[in-house]
Symmetry: C2
Subunit: 243 residues, 2 copies
Amino acid sequence: MANPTAAMLVIGDEILSGRTRDSNMHHLAGRLTEAGINLTEVRMVADDRMAIVEGVRALAREHDHLFTSGGIGPTHDDITADCVAEAMGASIDVRPDARAILQAHYDRQGIEMNEARLRMARIPEGAALIKNPISAAPGFTIGNVHVMAGIPAIFEAMVASVLPTISGGAPVLSESIRIDRAEGDIAARLNELAEEFTQLSFGSYPFRQNGEYGANVVIRGIDLQQINHAAAQLRAAFGEDAT
Amino acid sequence: MANPTAAMLVIGDEILSGRTRDSNMHHLAGRLTEAGINLTEVRMVADDRMAIVEGVRALAREHDHLFTSGGIGPTHDDITADCVAEAMGASIDVRPDARAILQAHYDRQGIEMNEARLRMARIPEGAALIKNPISAAPGFTIGNVHVMAGIPAIFEAMVASVLPTISGGAPVLSESIRIDRAEGDIAARLNELAEEFTQLSFGSYPFRQNGEYGANVVIRGIDLQQINHAAAQLRAAFGEDAT
């Protein structure tokens, strides 16, 4: 059975303007690989209603899961929750359960609730809340869409609490082989192996070190025996240049 | 007149598996902002023919420019050039001009040309070559699509040579104001400013420092006078908490 697929939608002007370097995509990619879920597409869009709604619709339809990051804070540019509700055909309003979580958090901290903060309790009807252990304002899951914060520490905590609720697949295993030959000298043999082992994927990542070319070849798949077999053949082909 | 728009397509299994953290998107975003070109969408896809062809078609159609990174090396998983040709309806083969560049480079280095290396001379008919000052294998521009390498040093060199050939827009200016108040206390005033200054964009980026909440507000636009005017109002609203 094929592993489930996932997509990610990264939301925020600051990413596209180059002001902020996104780190959530790389984090999620690693966690999904461990869970045996294939991340097959990522989109990054601005804080723009049409872009978010269309992105959510397309990616939720084409993948088993969609993860979003960003745009669920208290300011006017935080429109993700409303856009996801629109894309999924759900109504949205301040929800008592989310409001209670925020109110308790602010009461503990002596912060007043106001209209802006109340925006963070806007949750689509039928969605399940995702716990935010850092600043209380929850994310949510509606259908196959998991809506999370953009601040990396909060995003990562939300991923940790959502992933156990999702059925993963067989973990993807990999073996990395360093070959101290130029990629152009490795390519032909690698191509033969890729044609022989159709269940495995072969990635080649060139580098240059002390003026010499080399490549790290990564063999990935779910069958350890096949990976070992292919790795042995690759090592045999390049003798002492392969480590 | 509105500034031109751009999209980016990042191609590579290694990004989506979490093995490699992409840095090209952040680099391009910064350079485009300086050039007055609005990066409005980024997609990241695997080394998969359908995903690349569809990504190129959709993004080239919807934006003034499309920049791609990755998948133009010598190995079997380097299929970007062929996919871009397919998406743009162009024929593709080894081109004498690209082959001559590679041959001269390998001759200088005493490396033999082989079938794998020759793949890097596959360039769509009608495309203009993009110089690669590091490892010779060129990128190319076809229509509004600029195809570049994934290795960051080469990608960055190619961006530097392509951008001067593109008409930019008015440079986007910005002013950043630090406000030592929780974002929930800033949001209402910020929303009013966003409604008053419709030509500007207001981003709010919360942080927590020494247990205290704050936010950096970034005002962006092309009219410096408007930016200064909005910034002054924001500073006035938050007094000595704004710096």
